[in-house]
């Protein structure tokens, strides 16, 4: 009897993981036009009726496939849920019907995704302001924790940041670019390129990466003309304080 109960418990445990995986798959992998219902194919490849090793499925789901539409799910799903999806997809290998029936999901069988932001309310407000797409926000020039465009310094891990930094009037990084046609603008160097000079034009918001033939740029020197404070005038002091709370929280978790 005990052996039978153990056997039953084991056989029930595997379908439970598969069933969990099925729900997560439905809301994250079937959706839109990706892998289709129950892996029946969409703009992503068919998974139904195909054999993959579980290690392969796990690694690919966790890390994504570079230069492809397959994202890394390690930032979006808990590890145990990635493993449940792997169990489910592996279970599809023996499926033979090309158009499987749809299992209605019970209301409330919500996705198991990580919450997009786990910080305290004050930091959450700061984060919202930092990335607020309706404004010329901080995120068009700075990245934090893998979000935002790192034209200026990436602020991830900057635990010493203070309001005075945001309101600063100096920058060690900004240069004055002068062009042969006499145009001048405050700039940050863009990615290296042997054939041309690439400069972010900071007079524009969002900044524009401009490319020039070497002969077009006559000088590129540090400048006191650029002031960070001019770019945060959309925010009130209280809002800037909330942003500082967010940046410190992002760096320290406190």
């Amino acid at each position: 009897m005990i052996a039978l109960a153990l056997l039953l418990a084991q056989s029930a445990a595997v379908p439970a993981a598969v069933a969990r995986g099925e729900q997560i798959f439905a809301q994250n992998c079937s959706v839109g036009y990706c892998h289709g219902v129950a892996g029946a194919a969409g703009r992503g490849p068919r998974l139904r009726g195909r054999s993959f090793s579980k290690d392969y499925l796990y690694n690919m789901t966790r890390d994504g496939i570079p230069s492809s539409a397959m994202p890394a799910w390690k930032d979006r799903l808990k590890d145990e849920d990635i493993r449940a999806v792997v169990e489910y997809v592996a279970s599809l290998a023996s499926a033979t019907d090309p158009a499987p029936p749809v299992n209605p999901m019970p209301p409330g069988a919500g996705p198991a995704a990580l919450p997009s932001f786990k910080g305290p309310a004050a930091a959450a407000r700061g984060r919202e302001l930092f990335f607020d797409p309706a404004h010329e926000n901080c995120g068009v020039c700075h990245a934090v924790g893998g979000r935002g465009i790192a034209v200026g310094p990436d602020l991830t891990g900057k635990q010493q940041i203070a309001l005075s930094d945001i309101e600063s009037t100096r920058s060690r990084h900004v240069l004055m670019a002068k062009l042969k046609n006499e145009e001048e603008f405050c700039a940050l160097p863009g990615e290296r390129d042997e054939n041309q000079v690439r400069l972010y034009d900071l007079t524009l918001a969002p900044p524009v990466l401009r490319s020039f033939a070497r002969s077009e740029v006559t000088s590129l020197v540090p400048t006191p003309a650029w002031r960070h404070i001019d770019f945060v005038r959309d925010y009130s002091r209280t809002e800037l304080e909330a942003i500082v709370v967010y940046l410190r929280w992002a760096a320290t978790g406190k």
């Binding site: 959706v31 029946a40 969409g42 539409a69 209605p104 999901m105 997009s116 524009v208």
Partner: protein
């Protein structure tokens, strides 16, 4: 178009005279293309119609392939519309590869391969629908959500600017930009993401962001009240296709996509402006002049994002300036493009059960919303009563040529909470055969105002390539099996066909260099719909991908 560059292509004085009149009278806002194919939709009226007639009904059967061009990336198919300016073709393929090609010889002049980040994980996939050319520049939008300006002569990058962090918005750019005066206007995807849609214009010279129009009004703006709670922050409204422009009215028209979550609407009660709407904007300021919402509170993923065809026709005996838009739900909406007044609506598919019809005022009658927590049959499927591939309007016949698809889906709707930058869909679905007749597609000729059908060309599979119509009274398009073919514009009879070896998902064009007319088409199977089709047609899974541009012309003795 400068009339001095028009070459008579038919040795008939009468025909030449007719052409001259056509050119002279349309020159105020020339909606036909001549030697060039300067904009995504031909001209910015989106007619996809050329006044060239060297290739016509009498000689199209002698059309020959004159060159082919490989883009080298078959991933996602070849979805673009090539442009031609002064005999040079500009075309984009998957992963943002841009090429300038000699239109006569097929020889590459330059290429530009944009470096997308390796860890991209793009949820709207790697295809692109094209470029815009103007002000000495070639513009494109990228998979990681940048707008790039290249030097038209050399392909050298001049500037690039981020539209929004793609990880933040779950959006990117697959549509071709549109140039209006000194601005380049760019839409984004994101309609199936937790995302608030917008349309953005940049200064062509500098890349300076000139304006942004939010397709979902924010707090304090008119229309904000059509969204319950915080749903406006994540409500979709993508601008993923390319709009149109009327220079006389100085109005920019753009179609707006579905509301998100696509199928689960309980959390966004209200009409959800301006999703599933045509918006008319002042291109100088981005201000809204008028809008027309085709589907209030969409719970079927039926975009109004497809082409806005600007045509003039008589309505009840009165000449009107019209805008025609085929909705993904399978109904064509016709409106007055000066003010957005509803004119008519007519179906392009036979299997439609999400509504019973559209009344004389444009109201949807008999809405059939998929119930939450249950599975229901909806027609057409999410793939649409028509897909994004564009129709064509011929001023010679006065008809609009467009495709229709017969298919349904079983959709199971579930509640879903928005997660920033992530899919926000609210359902799973599988394709099902239609209620009536076999699953498949057709290409039809319609009266654009009344929807009266003049002929129908049936197809085993949905036709997913755009149409091109010409003054040679021809309609060109391609099919999923790889055939590129020409129909008689007046009868729908097939006159010529050429096997290109891979299915068609892009948009054919025609142009002329040194007096010779060419027809060009992308060939390359791929895209979301190509991926879904095996659910109904299993054999299509093995249809070969590709990414080749084929160009055809008549041999000298047939011209």
């Amino acid at each position: 178009m400068n009339s001095s560059t028009i070459r008579p292509t038919v040795h008939s004085a009468k025909r030449f005279f007719v052409n001259l009149i056509l050119v002279c009278c349309l020159s105020a806002a020339d909606n036909t293309t001549q030697a060039d194919w300067p904009h995504y939709g031909g001209q910015r009226s989106a007619w996809r119609y050329s006044a060239l007639d060297q290739i016509n009904r009498s000689n199209v059967d002698r059309l020959q392939a004159v060159w082919a061009f490989q883009t080298g990336k078959v991933d996602g198919g070849f979805n673009a519309t090539p442009l031609v300016v002064d005999g040079v073709m500009y075309v984009a393929s998957s992963w943002n590869r841009i090429f300038a090609i000699n239109g006569e010889t097929g020889k590459e002049i330059w290429h530009y391969f944009y470096q997308n980040p390796r860890e991209i994980g793009i949820i709207y996939s790697p295809w692109t629908r094209g470029v815009a050319v103007g002000a000495g520049r070639v513009f494109t939008g990228t998979l990681d959500n940048y707008v790039v300006a290249l030097d038209q002569k050399t392909g050298r990058e001049l500037w690039r600017v981020n539209v929004e962090d793609m990880r933040q918005c779950g959006c990117n750019i697959t549509g071709a930009p549109l140039i209006v005066k000194d601005k380049v206007v760019v839409g984004v995807t994101g309609g199936d993401s937790a995302h608030r849609g917008y349309l953005t214009a940049f200064d062509v010279a500098t890349g300076r962001r000139a304006w942004r129009f939010w397709t979902i009004p924010g707090p304090g703006e008119k229309g904000h009240e059509t969204w319950a709670g915080d749903s406006w922050k994540y409500g979709g409204g993508a601008t993923w296709m390319t709009g149109s422009y009327d220079p006389e009215l100085n109005l920019l028209y753009w179609g707006v996509g579905n509301a998100a979550a696509d199928f689960y609407g309980e959390a966004r009660k209200g009409t959800n402006l301006y999703t599933d709407s045509i918006i008319a904007l002042d291109p100088d300021t981005g201000r809204l002049k008028w809008y027309y919402q085709e589907i209030p509170h969409d719970v079927w993923d039926f975009d109004a994002a497809f082409e806005c065809v600007l045509l003039d026709a008589a309505v009840n005996g009165v000449a009107r300036k019209l805008l025609l838009n085929v909705n993904k739900g399978g109904y064509t909406f016709v409106m007055d493009r000066t003010n957005g007044e509803f004119i008519s609506a007519w179906p392009v598919a036979e299997n439609i059960n999400w509504i019973q019809g559209v009344d004389a005022k444009g109201n949807l009658v008999g809405r059939n919303e998929p119930p939450v927590g249950k599975t229901s049959l909806m027609c057409p499927s999410i793939g649409g009563g028509r897909q994004w591939n564009h129709g064509s309007y011929s001023p010679r016949t006065g008809w609009f040529y467009t495709t229709g698809i017969e298919w349904c889906e079983e959709v199971t709707v579930s509640p879903e909470d928005p997660k920033e930058g992530m899919n926000f869909f609210g359902a799973v679905f599988r394709l099902k055969p239609p209620l009536h007749g076999p699953a498949g597609g057709h290409l039809d000729a319609y009266d654009p105002v009344t929807g009266k059908k003049f002929w129908s060309y049936p197809s085993k599979y949905p036709l997913l390539a755009s149409q091109l119509s010409t003054a040679g009274d021809l309609v060109f398009t391609g099919d999923p099996e790889g055939n590129f073919f020409a129909l008689d514009a007046r009868t729908g009879q097939k006159l010529w066909s050429f096997p290109t070896g891979s299915g068609h998902r892009g948009s054919p064009i025609t142009y002329s260099v040194n007096g010779r007319q060419y027809v060009a088409t992308p060939s390359g199977w791929g895209s979301a719909l190509a991926g879904l089709m095996p659910q109904l047609w299993p054999e299509t899974e093995s249809f070969p991908p590709g990414s080749t541009l084929f160009v055809f012309a008549l041999p000298a003795e047939a011209r």
